[in-house]
Symmetry: C2
Subunit: 218 residues, 2 copies
C-alpha cells in the first residue's frame, strides 16, 4: 500500500509516519520510485504498536525506540525478552526514596518477602518491585500500613489475571501485534482494577456512613 | 504558631500558604497584629490535606477548592458526602466515548450488570462506573475482552480492601486528617495493585517463555 493508505489504516498522519521512518522506529518501505515506496501489513502492525505505546501506555519515544530496536534485532523473536523490555518501558518512573529512610528499607524487605512467599520469578531490578515498596512505605509513614492479608488477596487475583493475560500472547502471531495487545490489555485492566476499587469504596462508605435506603430498617 | 512554623511543619512554603489563604483554601489565622497571625493544628491538617490531594492525588486546585469548601460548610461533618466529593475529585477524567460506539454501549451494560450482581451501592454518575466501562470497551475493541471471572475475582479483593480502607476512617478524628489519610491510602493501594499485577505478569511470562532455571528439568 502507499503511504496515504498506511496513514488511513493506522490512524497516524503521513507527517508522523515520515518522522518515525526517519527515526528508524518504522522500517523503510519498498522503494518504487525516487520519492515513493510501498508498505505492507508489517508496517501497519508497527504503527499500531507505536500508537498503543504512546497513547495507551504513555511511553516516551526513547522507550518506544528501545522496543522497536529489539523487535528489529536478530533476537526479535525472543518473547520473554520483548515482553520484559515492553513492560519495563511502560513502568512509571519508580519513586526515589530519601537516603537512609527507614520506612523505605522496611518496605523493600516487606515487598521482597511477599514476592518470595508467592514464589514469583521477578528480577531484582524490576521497576514494579520498587513501586510496590514505595507504595508500602508511603502508607507505613502515616501509620496506615496495608495489611498483608489484603496484599495476599490481591496477589492471588493478580496471578489469575496474569495467567489470563498470557492468553493474549499467540507465539505464532506477528510480534508487533502481540505487544500492541499486551500494552492495551495491561493498561486497561489496571484501569478496570482501580475503578473496581473505587466502586467498592463507594459501596462500603454508603453502607457505613450513608443514609439508610428508603424502606430499609433503621 | 506563626506562619514560619506552620510552613516548616506542613512542608508548604510561606508563599504558597499565603496563596492558599488568599484563595480561601485555608481558613484565616487569628490576627495578632496588622500583618501577623497565629495558626493552630487545624491549619496544619488543612495544609497536609491539600498537599496529599495535589501531590499524591494529582487533583487540580479547582477540585481541592470543592473539598475545602465542603469541609468549611455547615455540612462539614457529613462523612459520606465528604468522602464522595473527595473521591470523585481524585477520579481521572472519564473517557469520552464516540457517539453511538457499539462497544461502549455494550461495555456500559456489562459494567452495570457486574455492579448490580455484586450488590454495590454506587450512584449512576459515579466516575468510576464510566472508567470501568471505558476499560472494558477498549479491550473488547481489540477482541481481547476481560473475562468476567477475572473481574469477579478482583471485585472480591476490592471489597476486602475497601472494608479495610474504612478502618482509616475515625469518625472522631479531624475531618481534614481523615480525608488526607484516605487520599494517601487509596492512591498508594492502587499503585501497589498495579505493581502486583506487573510482578505477576513477569512471573507468568518467565514460567511460560523464559529460560529454564539452572538445575531445573528440561
Amino acid at each position: 500500500m502507499r503511504i496515504s493508505e498506511l496513514s488511513r489504516r493506522s490512524g497516524v498522519s503521513v507527517a508522523t509516519i515520515k518522522y518515525y521512518l526517519r527515526e528508524g522506529l518504522v522500517p523503510k518501505g519498498e522503494a518504487t520510485g525516487a520519492t515513493q515506496a510501498r508498505y505492507g501489513e508489517a508496517h501497519l502492525h508497527r504503527l499500531r504498536l507505536i500508537r498503543a505505546l504512546v497513547e495507551v501506555g504513555d511511553a516516551p519515544l526513547a522507550k518506544v525506540h528501545a522496543i522497536t530496536a529489539a523487535l528489529d534485532s536478530a533476537d526479535g523473536g525472543d518473547l520473554h525478552r520483548l515482553l520484559g523490555i515492553t513492560m519495563y518501558a511502560l513502568a512509571p518512573e519508580p519513586h526515589r526514596p530519601a537516603e537512609g529512610d527507614p520506612a523505605w528499607t522496611a518496605a523493600q524487605e516487606e515487598a521482597d518477602a511477599l514476592i518470595a512467599e508467592l514464589g514469583w520469578r521477578v528480577t531484582r531490578s524490576s521497576p514494579a518491585r520498587g513501586r510496590l515498596a514505595a507504595a508500602l512505605a508511603a502508607t507505613d509513614r502515616i501509620g496506615r500500613p496495608v495489611s498483608t492479608r489484603i496484599l495476599r488477596s490481591y496477589a492471588r487475583a493478580a496471578e489469575i489475571a496474569a495467567e489470563d493475560d498470557l492468553t493474549v500472547i499467540d507465539p505464532d502471531a506477528p510480534r508487533d501485534q502481540t505487544l500492541e495487545h499486551v500494552v492495551i490489555v495491561t493498561a486497561r485492566l489496571e484501569q478496570a482494577l482501580a475503578a473496581l476499587h473505587r466502586l467498592a469504596q463507594e459501596d462500603a462508605s454508603a453502607r457505613s456512613f450513608g443514609r439508610p435506603r428508603p424502606g430499609a430498617g433503621a
